[in-house]
Symmetry: none
Subunit: 226 residues, 2 copies
């Protein structure tokens, strides 16, 4: 499922888009302000960004520039939403690195079609996570430890990917279930423990003394920073 970050200050439009895009099967996260948009990106790691240009507190163009200058975020497609229809505005937006540009008012179905185009032709950005001798390649779904390849199952991989992407941050079982298993989970929180165990057995050199995956009693788990 693709995750879309929506930054739009108009409450009505925000709700409308969120509703329609979720109905279309996208996972939506968003903000109604431009403040901290780049940080939000780094935390959420969306697959696509819908960005209003006219925000009350900041300029969408600047946000786009910030995203493009950040190496991890640069490959993420950006679609501008805007009421400005003047020629120079359009050109500036497109030349600044936006992948598409859609002028309000627009048809929701057209926006959806344009989103799908971005995903269709996206040359998947290859991002590898590394911590010591442990390497996780998202694009090939492979995990290597000291050169040798580990055989992880799908859930194990997704859990490790989630934790490695956010080193040092402690997540509760609840949060992990929401993020890794999905919102429509029907799973006990103890399931997380089992997967942490399985991961440790494959990843840790000494599973009894885990160095990579840390338990925080009463809170949850985290992946240790290098």
């Amino acid at each position: 499922m693709k995750k879309i970050l929506l930054i739009e200050d108009d409450t009505d439009l925000y709700a409308l888009l969120k509703y329609n895009l979720e109905k279309e099967g996208f996972q939506m996260v968003g903000a109604q302000t431009g403040k901290g948009a780049v940080d939000l990106c780094r935390r959420e790691r969306p697959d696509l960004i819908l960005l209003d240009i006219m925000l009350p507190d900041s300029d969408g163009l600047d946000i786009c520039k910030g995203i493009r200058s950040h190496p991890d975020l640069a490959p993420i497609p950006v679609i501008f939403l805007t009421a400005r229809a003047s020629e120079t505005d359009r050109i500036v937006g497109l030349e600044l690195g936006a992948n598409d540009y859609i002028v309000k008012p627009f048809f929701v179905r057209e926006l959806i079609a344009r989103i799908r185009i971005q995903f269709r032709q996206q040359a998947q950005p290859v991002r590898a996570l590394k911590s010591g001798s442990l390497e996780l390649d998202r694009s090939s779904c492979r995990v290597r430890l000291d050169g040798g390849e580990l055989q992880l199952t799908a859930t194990e991989f997704k859990l490790l990917e989630f934790l490695m992407a956010r080193p040092g941050v402690v997540f509760s079982r609840e949060q992990l279930l929401d993020s890794v298993w999905g919102h429509d989970r029907a799973v006990t929180d103890r399931t997380v423990d089992v997967y942490i165990l399985r991961l440790r057995q494959k990843v840790e050199s000494d599973p009894a003394n885990p160095l990579l995956i840390r338990s925080v009693r009463g809170f949850g788990y985290s992946f240790n920073e290098a």
Copy 2:
């Protein structure tokens, strides 16, 4: 230098675009009629196609469909030019496989910006893909294995081409359907499995132990790196 194929019946607009785009450094070829447009494509092999939807003798949508169904032409970006602005027209155009859609009257500079976006996103236009003794030639739509030529169907070819162009990258059935079949699909994701099977039977020396096309349980498939 990028070659652009322009199909537009309006003489004034045709000349205007040809002039401006040549000034911009593009090599222009074109026709003012839709007849034989697909054949023209196969002869000229442009890097991008500008296509008027409303042509006196034929429908631009059909031309686009014809291009998309040809394995060697399918990856060429298509931008629709049109005076029709109704919602369904836009959706149909975009969902049919157009990469962008611009409504007349438009600013020439915006068109240029949108053309550049297509080229920016476009991966390296490698004509031939090779992996070990397996060779795939995009322009002639031929696949050779150990010198002998394989008989692949159009869908098999497009699927193999897509995977070979991105070795090592794992794609879900969903992504493959979007990219290879197109989003206007009415197809079960299990269809992908069948085509993977058919490809393996033709491509793999031992289909029971596939070396080229890898299954990644829970995720999808990928073409193994050399």
